[in-house]
Amino acid sequence: MPSSIVFRGGEKSIYNPAGNTAFLDLKNIVKSYDREVLNVRTLAFERGKIYGIIGPSGAGKTTLLRIINLLTEPDRGTIYFEGRPIPPNGPARLALQRQMTLVFQKPLLFSTTVRENIAYGLRTRGYSREEIKKRVSALLEQIGLPHMKERHAGTLSGGEAQRVALARAVAFKPKLLLLDEPTANLDPANVELMEKMILQLKQTMEVTIIIVTHNIFQARRLTDEAVFLYDGQVVETGETSKMFTSPRDERTQAFIEGRMIY
């Protein structure tokens, strides 16, 4: 009986001498280009929640997502994924990278059919043909484009393309889904559709979602927890509703009230 308590967290393991059990944990991540654009001392994400990363343009939001997705190498620091530090290279790194995916601010669809786009991540993971077919059809249904299976991706509208990019990202059921401004270029109807789909994901899959947005209202609608990033630094984290009603930091407050000039 007590064993169930022992594993609740806080124990030390060989992977994680710090004894940290967060799903994703960033420690002392620093990235500079011509100047320092990101300096995150510590930032932890729990499994199954939706996180919002908010902050003004240039705050380092995209850089942060790219570092988490292992596309950009930080100058310093360690990322712990499920308690283990992500190795700098090798097959173990690829294996970890395959548990997460990033939908870019301006997603790129491959110049082939919608079907092949959605199937891409499944093919790289060696899914069977029947399974691929099944999942692609189900996803097309979910994003409301069942008739567009054979359409060339280049002929889609912006909103349709964004939905296909989301379907492609969730097809292989990643543990961690990173969304960079998923609705920035969409009209209100499509924004609503995308938001609905994102909320549905939380119910249908075991997934942790991190959404970058500069729209505080969207963050409020979608996210459980919020991270306010300013000038490369984490200024404030906490429950989204609390952060918006009673921000602790002056800069957070300024951003929320729209007083922040950027």
Partner: protein, 233 residues
């Protein structure tokens, strides 16, 4: 002018009769330039893709070199390969001068920069984005590179066709290193030079017509591909 008309008529008869010597020359041309473009593609695709995925700043010097070589005059290529392959040259012992192999080598020096350069430009336009999208979707290094190649297929096809068009029509390099030996290293362009000099216009015109038609087919194809923007390969 009657001379020209007469020549064209006789040229057509030569082509229709499938004149054996004419056919031989055409086939050697296709074989030499075909081999050159295949080698250039096998080397130029990976090289161009690799360069195209690097930040432009880091490859500035290489870019300039490649662009310069893309305009390399065929006679200069011929001269260099001639010196390498001639008896006193670095590779003289191989005894390749005045063989089709020498012609292929010379044409590779002309086609490789074109294939590499155009591949690089094609990949650069959206290669980095494609690579990162592929990696983010779980592709390893090889598969993401392959995806980049697939996504740039229109420019890559253009690179190959342009390279082929250049070498099949060039005369300087094959003349210098091949020597225009009848039945051995005589190709369409060198034959045209020779027959014109000899006054055998019908022969020269016949070959000229074949070259022109080839060029037309190649360019029509390229135009279609680039217009349509899509080729299902």
């Amino acid at each position: 002018m009657p001379r020209l008309l007469e020549g064209i008529l006789e040229a057509f008869t030569l082509i229709i009769r499938l004149d054996p010597e004419l056919i031989k020359i055409v086939f050697l041309s296709l074989r030499v330039s075909g081999a050159a473009i295949i080698i250039s593609t096998l080397l130029g695709f990976p090289l161009g893709t690799w360069l195209g995925l690097k930040p432009e700043k880091k490859t500035a010097l290489v870019n300039k070199v490649i662009y310069t070589l893309m305009g390399l005059p065929p006679v200069v290529a011929g001269l260099v390969i001639y010196m390498l392959l001639s008896r006193m040259g670095l590779l003289g012992v191989l005894g390749l001068l005045y063989t089709p192999v020498a012609m292929i080598i010379a044409q590779v020096t002309l086609a490789l920069p074109i294939v590499t350069g155009l591949t690089m430009v094609g990949v650069r336009s959206r290669g980095k984005e494609v690579e990162e999208t592929a990696r983010s979707l779980g592709a390893g290094p090889l598969l993401s590179a392959w995806t980049v190649v697939r996504e740039s297929r229109i420019s890559l096809l253009g690179a190959v066709v342009t390279g082929f068009g250049r070498v099949i029509a060039e005369v300087g390099a094959v003349m210098m290193v091949g020597g225009n030996i009848e039945g051995h290293t005589r190709v369409m362009t060198t034959a045209i030079v020779l027959e014109t000099r000899k006054g055998n216009f019908e022969y020269a015109i016949g070959l000229g017509l074949i070259l022109l038609s080839l060029s037309f087919v190649i360019n029509a194809f390229l135009y279609r591909v680039q217009r349509g923007g899509e080729v299902h390969l």
